[in-house]
Symmetry: C2
Subunit: 207 residues, 2 copies
Amino acid sequence: MSSSPQGKGGRYHHGNLHEGLIRAAIELMEAGGVDALTLRAAARRAGVSPAAPYRHFEDKASLLAAVAYQGFEALLAEMTAALERSGDDPLRAMKVLGAAYVGFALKNPPLFRVMFGPEVANRERFPELEEIASATMILQAETLTRCQELGLIRPGSSLELGLAAWTTMHGCASLLLAQQIPAEMTEQEFIRIVGETLMSGLLLPTV
Amino acid sequence: MSSSPQGKGGRYHHGNLHEGLIRAAIELMEAGGVDALTLRAAARRAGVSPAAPYRHFEDKASLLAAVAYQGFEALLAEMTAALERSGDDPLRAMKVLGAAYVGFALKNPPLFRVMFGPEVANRERFPELEEIASATMILQAETLTRCQELGLIRPGSSLELGLAAWTTMHGCASLLLAQQIPAEMTEQEFIRIVGETLMSGLLLPTV
DNA sequence: ACCTGAACACCGTTCAAGT
DNA sequence: ACCTGAACACCGTTCAAGT
């Protein structure tokens, strides 16, 4: 009893307030959007005073960076899982990666926003974020290399082509979240069109 | 003298507080980023009390929507101007449109953010925003049609292909603003790679 | 070492009251 | 019709003080 982590009584030495605040922040965000994620509300939810978070995070941006980091971990996990389910066809793996990325954004709009939005601005302050973000890029570049080895994708730096593919996926997710696709088009149609264009390009193949 | 619009004395019946608040909001944003754009600060800058804006805007989101609208007007103007400078080559016009779009985002990060970010969320509330946003899409679709007529771009719905092109441009702008491109790559390289991939696609042309 | 309590300078929003 | 003044319920952040 005495070690119950969510007891009602005000308790000193929370033990794991750092993690508790991150979890509280994510729950607040999922329940009420980004606006609901305030430092004070996170403290309340964790059962501590408004000033307590400052023993664990320099400021609100630091907490948001920690939230973003967990978001990237989750995204990476979903992409890895999708990759494993995609079997041996690396072209199919490319599509599955894109679907996982866009699906993640659609399933967690506020989290996706925190991951890429300007709440965390000054990314130089949080180098660990750049590092884990680049991990998703590497995943894509590796898959792309496999396609190139089978002669399915044109030659060229897989890092550069992967970055281009990522850009398209990211634009897709961003426009969907901004509700900027025409009303007469479904999500699935939009995703299909963008994916096909990424693969085939716009130019008419000049025989 | 008596009609000086920025006189120091508190003045009733501002005359054009609606426009004044929008301008103040944009100036605040350009000077101090999105965080600096508060309703109270806009009111201060316009020389009125904190409650005055509520005679002209339902809430803060409405003011932001007005700011976003002016952003779309400016973007549309830059794209149109770029188009006129691009001469008769429609393929060049496509590139110029993309450059204008990405350039606009890089020149006005906070404005671009307000235009597409969730500050304005609930776009159903502001249908005039959807309308003007679609105007930029139409501009692109028309240019694309010209390319198709010359046999430069593959056949297909120009609206769909234009949407795909827009998605790539938007992803490009978003990742640049999120500082998510690898440090060892320059902006220009990144834009070039993404543009080339949009044009040529990823697939190896299967003879 | 870790947290509280109270405070400071802000917010967005509402509402009676002024002219 | 349009604005002010004062208020309410919040913020992020700081700092002395508690255990």
